[in-house]
């Protein structure tokens, strides 16, 4: 009997492998092999000029060095600026909204309705959204004509010509697309805080501003950190919006060119060596960020982010 049971267990283990096989096979083929290939070619001189293919010749770290001398750092700066423009208002508004929503004494009606509305832009196709903005804010677009007829401005503003205009448009779009998502996450986090704590603070004579800064903020710090890091990873991948809005040019004067747009243009011109090296840089940065997220969500963190994430999950699951 015992022997038979053991045999059966071995049998079941086999099924475990079979069930996870498709996932790993697909990952291996479509992510792992490409990754290795990308890293390998980053050490080669390999590009196409006209119809002629040059390389692959091994050139060591040359691609990395020439990338550092090229505009990559400037593009990294652009990406950072665009991310900051979108992220700062996003986190401020999301925090305010979340604490408003949760506050028991300000029972806001139609809460569900607002949740639905603010999450809506997040599902919209980023490229269509960018195209829409481009049309709306163009010289003959409705925004200019509304502002004109209201008498706010006397002549049309060409948003597309100034770095400030393009950057703030991109920032606005990112803000609009993501603040709903962040708000809902933070709300779940705030609702995870025990009401006893709020009650105790009230008895101690704490006003709502103090309550926000002294109690709510410190208690949701793990979720805030998580939001921050996932947002940085998302910002690093920023592509659709600036690509469509500026038609891949990063105009004016390449001030809105992001790293992924740079990668995209290398891939388009089949400059595989440079694209590989750029990918490796991106991989290292996002690898570090991934590792932080991994640590936060999987270890028994001293700062309690795991517990918070779990509380959050429970809330969302109801």
């Amino acid at each position: 009997m015992f022997v038979q049971k053991k045999r059966k267990l071995v049998n079941y283990a086999k099924w475990g492998y079979i069930f996870i096989l498709p996932f790993f096979a697909s990952f291996f083929i479509f992510s792992f092999i490409p990754l290795v290939d990308t890293i390998r070619y980053s050490f080669y001189e390999y590009f196409r000029s006209g119809i002629k293919e040059i390389g692959p010749n091994f050139i060591g770290m040359k691609n990395y060095a020439s990338l550092l001398q090229s505009d990559m750092l400037k593009y990294a700066g652009n990406t950072l600026i665009l991310w900051v423009i979108g992220f700062i208002p996003q986190i401020v508004i999301a925090l305010t909204l979340a604490s408003w929503f949760v506050d028991v004494r300000m029972k806001i009606r139609c809460q569900q309705f607002f949740k639905v509305v603010i999450y809506l832009p997040n599902l919209i196709m980023a490229s269509a959204f960018a195209m829409l903005f481009f049309t709306l804010f163009s010289k003959t677009g409705p925004v200019n004509s509304i502002l004109m007829s209201l008498g706010v401005i006397s002549e049309v503003i060409d948003f597309m010509r100034t770095a400030l205009g393009v950057r703030s448009l991109i920032g606005t779009m990112n803000f609009l697309m993501w603040f709903g998502n962040t708000t809902i996450m933070l709300m779940a986090a705030i609702m995870g805080i025990s009401p006893d704590i709020f009650e105790a603070s009230e008895i101690d004579g704490c006003n709502s501003v103090q309550r926000f800064f002294r109690i709510t903020l410190p208690l949701i710090r793990p979720i805030l950190a998580y939001t921050l890091i996932t947002s940085i990873i998302g910002g690093l991948q920023m592509f659709d919006v600036p690509q469509i809005l500026t038609n891949g040019q990063g105009n004016p004067d390449r001030t809105s060119m992001t790293l992924i747009m740079f990668l995209n243009s290398h891939l388009r011109s089949k400059n595989y060596g440079m694209a590989g090296a750029l990918s490796v840089y991106l991989f290292i940065v996002s690898g570090i960020l991934c590792f932080i997220v991994y640590k936060m969500t999987n270890d028994n963190d001293p700062d309690g982010s795991k517990a918070a994430a779990r509380a959050n999950k429970k809330r969302g699951g109801r």
Binding site: F23, F30, S31, I118, S127, L132, M185, L289
Partner: protein
């Protein structure tokens, strides 16, 4: 807050209103009420050979639909495999998936492009669909759902009744996971519908383009000489289906945001 929700809706309102006006009307200024040229704009978009929008919507539907189907099925399968069975590499496999959870796809784009060229899948819809078998985020969602709602004794019972393992999964586990699969199917569908980076690199021929590429093409075209009503009309099919689905299912989606979102 009212201002914010107004902002969220305002742009879509303009989009829909403007799609109903003719080019000449739009040149004159902005209207707050719908016009009468909706059908005219619709027809001119539908019959435009340069931007095959209808074909694009169809392609997008095919890609997103199959992505959602196979992604949820195989993620559930993987989650079940790791959850219900004891095998040596179980821990390793789980840890590995958690490590790649937030890895951006863009970094492997170059190798991916070369690989599918070698495999003869360049300029086809397949490379947009098949890689979605391995989606760690969906896997994680499924895994935590299984943890909370599938008692292993149920699997045992099925075994005693002589059910084959694969059949157990299909007939007992899958129905239990239906809610989780529905939520993830929606998210996968939307994600794939909106995806631009990979399709833009893979697809070349016009009759295989998905909606986002067509939008990009529209942006690249000589803009000023075009019919404005038509442009709004072309953005419309990219946005409206998602909005409709969202409004119908918003309750589940909002609940799913925090659930899946916490882990990226």
């Amino acid at each position: 807050m009212i201002i914010l929700s107004f902002l969220c809706l305002f742009f879509f309102y303009i989009l829909i209103i403007n799609a109903t006006h003719s080019h000449a009307e739009l040149q004159r200024g902005f209207y707050a009420l719908p016009g009468t040229s909706f059908l005219k704009n619709f027809n001119s978009v539908a019959n435009n050979g340069e931007f095959p929008m209808m074909r694009g919507v169809l392609n997008s539907l095919i890609v997103s639909g199959s992505c959602a189907a196979i992604c949820t099925y195989f993620s559930a399968l993987t989650a079940y495999g790791i959850y219900a069975y004891d095998f040596k590499l179980k821990k390793v496999a789980f840890t590995f998936i958690m490590m790649i959870l937030v890895m951006p796809t863009q970094v492997t784009a170059m190798g991916f492009l070369r690989l599918i060229t070698k495999m003869g899948m360049y300029d086809s819809l397949l490379p947009l669909i098949i890689p979605s078998i391995a989606s760690p985020a969906v896997f994680y969602f499924m895994y935590s759902y299984l943890e909370s709602s599938l008692p292993l004794s149920l699997v045992e019972a099925a075994r005693i009744d002589g059910s084959w393992e694969f059949r157990t999964f299909n007939q007992i586990v899958l129905p239990i996971m239906k809610p989780a699969m529905a939520v993830q199917a929606i998210f996968t569908f939307v994600g794939s519908w909106n995806n631009y980076f990979v399709p833009a690199l893979v697809i070349q021929s016009k009759d295989k383009m998905t909606v986002p590429i067509l939008i990009a093409l529209l942006r690249g075209a000589d803009y000023m000489n075009r019919d404005m009503g038509k442009i709004y009309m072309m953005i419309l099919p990219a946005i409206v289906p998602i909005i409709l689905v969202y409004l119908l299912l918003s309750k589940y989606i909002i609940a799913g945001v925090t659930l899946g979102g916490v882990k990226g």
